[in-house]
Amino acid sequence: MLERQGFRSALASVMAILIGMLVGLVVLLVSNPGSAVPGFVAIATGGLKNPKNMGQVLYYATPIIMTGLSVGFAKKTGLFNIGASGQFIMGAFAAVYVGVRWTFLPPGLHCLVAVLAAALMGALWGCVPGLLKAYCNINEVIACIMMNYIGMSTTNLLVRRLVFDRAKNQSLQPAASAVLPKLGFDKIFVDGGAPSSANAGFVIAAILGVVVWVILEKTKLGFELKACGYNRDAAKYAGINDKKNILLAMVFAGGLSGIGGALSYLSGSGTGIPVLDVLAAEGFNGIPVALLGMSNPIAIIFTGTFMAYLTQGGLSMQSFGFPTQIVDIISSVIIYFAAFALFFSQIIGKIKVGPKVTAQEKTDQEHKRLHDRMDQVKAQKGGEDQ
């Protein structure tokens, strides 16, 4: 039954994507009919055009898989972690700081410490809304949003003070010993001698996706976290420390986002943390990634890669003269339809489940549906009586 449910969710996500792409095509046709088809082909296939582009997909996927895992993990515990952005950027700062300044560490260890520092910093940033939610019952969404701004400004301040590259108005590049290993990806994902930025980050993100899945599905901790998420009162009744679990979930989620920041800025691609008053987009992109993956950690690895694929395809599309805004609209439309994934899942459920249920279940379901419908009709009737 669980396999079937997984299959249903996957099918629903694919359907959502296809419909999103169809609507995207319509937008293209309206904006520039002449280049619409080649432009659409570019966004649909750009990520696979050459090995370098494939590598770039993995590179873009890494941070949003991490923030997606962060949002998805919190969601399973019944929390909406909209603070992934702040956790991500604080993690990035911690990683860059360790990468630039702690050069006394031996290679290998240096990189590991930088990633761990990012995880800790992200966890700290997640822990604040967690504490407020668990012990003062303050809505985590508000606390998370505020922590995003505090994180953004703190990072700007700390980068300027501690690791500033004045010429580029961004952070300094981490030492080579702190950069994530390439794992030979620079040999595989190449186009015309130019390697992509792909590195071990994607592998780490994928492994962490599996780890998160194991935690949620196989461990006692996951059992308790999900119980809290589904029904906090019942969890409390069963002697589960709901406060501790809420805090723990936010700490974990924050840590995942923080690692995302490390994997992003230890990639050796030459980008630094920009000193701008803009919230890190990777944090928010984690929300649709988690949504499209229905918070399933394994699915999030794929949906994150898919989103990155769209990003890369969008870059390819620009060569057909589409303004970047249109590119953004197309990707947004596709992601927008991701929100319908659940809706499709229900439709598929109705079609597929039909013959397999027992008679008793069937009546139960019918009665439930019936009552709902009666309620609806009764409410409607109120409006139509005149």
Binding site: M1, G239, E361, D364, V377, K378
Partner: protein
């Protein structure tokens, strides 16, 4: 003119794989109260939705005043004067009573509301039928019983002649039930015809003229209520003899297993003591029942004992150990079992499979958990064993999502989980609320069996019948205080009612 205002003749309604209504005939006389009796899943709701136009039957006809009518949707039903009070009310909470009643049927002049006429009509109707409500009170400020009266007024305001009540007493206190029964009789006397869906035999006995019984989608019969006993009716409903009176021998109370001393809970909002200096004892081998009208501190008392709420004063002793400030987990693993009042809020994680719910109190024990990893094969094995032992019915065994199970089986799952942990004190709060006769009988038997095994049982109940038949000792709670300790053998229901209403009290020994 026909003798019957509504006739549903030979109605058959099929769903893929099941016949929900199999050749059912229901005839409603004008001015009568007609009960529709059946267990959960017997086809009552389906039949009513056919009458309400939500379903089209495969076979059979519906007649109004002897003439065949087509009811294609609820608007048709409404046009024929059929109205319904749902179990869960459909009211706008921040609207007044009057606004709710006229909602959807507002009389206007030049686009402005003309509430005066509506008010006159509502006041006249409430006087005519004895439905005391303040038209200007906000819904959120009035009691559940009054909200129900508003729903009734809504039907009357729309000039409905045929009134369907869907399990109307499930949410009411005993006093409110009595009031509702009076109102229903009044409505019938004024010529309204009432269909009354229920599985409570007492209520049928009290108000209904006739009763149609359904079982598993089949028509069993229509009877004159006055001519049959409750036992006969329940046998018709369940299909076998049901013990309405609980079989139980005399109690053999042993040593005290549980005790509270001066337990007090203060409400944070209004500063009143909702549990006021409660001292009680439960011995092994006895069922102590805390009886009272809903909202007299029972919920808070239990939550203070179990740890869901903090007690402001007093101590709780379990097996002689002071557990007042112990964690919930500590109490649960040291001899406390708790069948909670609200099975959806506290009792189950509805989106978890049944098997997970069955280990909700012991998943962390070495048998099911090693080094932080759960042994899911063991969990499902244990789940299956409980499902078999306690006859919990579900579509897909341990993998069934709890939400999809019927209320009775959900409750059985909770009872199974709590009893199988072998607690020394079992707290059961309204363990049979909303269940049908078969499930009630089952749960009562389990409680008595636990008592006979030498467990202490603390039962909190609002149902006088349950109190009288199960309790070995009755403690009456009124406004958070224990006001009397009574022997069920030596007290009448009427007397008990007086204590519960606070008009009588006696020193507790």
């Amino acid at each position: 003119m026909s003798e019957y205002i509504i006739e549903m003749c030979n109605i058959t309604k099929e769903f893929p794989g099941i016949i929900a209504n199999d050749d059912i005939t229901l005839q409603l006389k004008k001015g009568e109260i007609h009960a529709l009796l059946g267990e959960n899943g017997a086809g009552k709701s389906t039949l009513m939705s056919v009458l309400f136009g939500l379903y089209q039957p495969e076979k059979g006809v519906i007649k109004k005043d002897g003439k065949e009518v087509q009811i294609k949707d609820p608007n048709d039903a409404n046009a024929l004067g059929i109205g319904m009070v749902h179990q869960h009310f459909k009211l706008v909470h921040n609207f007044t009573v009057l606004q709710n009643i006229v909602l959807g049927m507002e009389t206007t002049q030049h686009g402005l509301l003309k509430m005066d006429e509506a008010r006159k009509k509502v006041v006249a109707l409430s006087e005519q039928y004895g439905l005391r409500v303040d038209p200007d009170a906000l819904i959120e400020d009035i009691t559940v019983g009054m909200q129900q009266r508003v729903e009734i007024l809504k039907m009357l305001y729309r000039d409905n002649e045929i009134l369907i009540f869907d399990e109307p007493t499930a949410v009411l206190t005993p006093q409110e039930i009595e009031e509702l029964m009076k109102i229903m009789k009044g409505l019938a006397a004024e010529g309204k015809s009432i269909l009354f869906i229920t599985h409570k035999l007492n209520e049928i006995k009290e108000v209904a003229d006739r009763c149609t019984v359904l079982r598993k989608g089949k028509y069993i019969g229509t009877i004159d209520v006055a001519g049959v006993t409750k036992e006969e009716m329940s046998e018709m409903m369940v299909g076998r003899k049901v013990e309405l009176r609980v079989e139980k021998g005399p109690a053999h109370p042993a040593d005290v297993v549980f005790e509270t001393q001066g337990l007090t809970v203060v409400n944070k909002e209004h500063g009143k003591k909702v549990v006021n200096d409660v001292s009680l004892k439960v011995r092994r081998g006895e069922i102590v029942c805390v009886a009272g009208i809903d909202g007299n501190g029972q919920t808070e008392l239990v939550q203070a004992i179990t740890g869901l709420m903090k007690a402001d004063a007093g101590t709780v002793l379990l097996n002689g150990e002071d557990v007042t400030h112990a964690s919930i987990r500590h109490k649960n693993t040291h001899g406390l079992g708790h069948i909670p009042e609200d099975r959806h809020k506290h009792g189950l994680v509805l989106d978890y499979p049944l098997a997970y719910n069955l280990v909700l109190q012991n998943y962390f024990e070495p048998e099911y958990c090693a080094k932080g990893f759960l042994k899911y094969d063991k969990i499902f094995q244990y789940g299956d064993s409980l499902i078999e032992k306690y006859d919990i019915r579900s579509g897909q065994g341990g993998k069934t999502i709890a939400r999809s199970m019927s209320g009775g089986n959900q409750q059985k799952a909770i009872v199974a989980r709590e009893i199988d942990r072998d607690p020394e004190l079992l707290i059961a709060v309204q363990p049979t609320r909303g269940l049908d006769v078969g499930a009630i009988e089952y749960i009562h038997r389990q409680l008595v069996a636990e008592r006979d095994k030498g467990k202490g049982i603390l039962l909190i109940s609002l149902e006088l019948d349950e109190v009288m038949s199960l309790a070995d000792r009755i403690l009456v709670i009124y406004e958070g205080e224990i006001v009397a300790e009574l022997d069920p053998q030596a007290v009448t229901v009427q007397e008990l009612g007086l204590y519960m209403a606070g008009s009588k009290r006696k020193a507790v020994g």
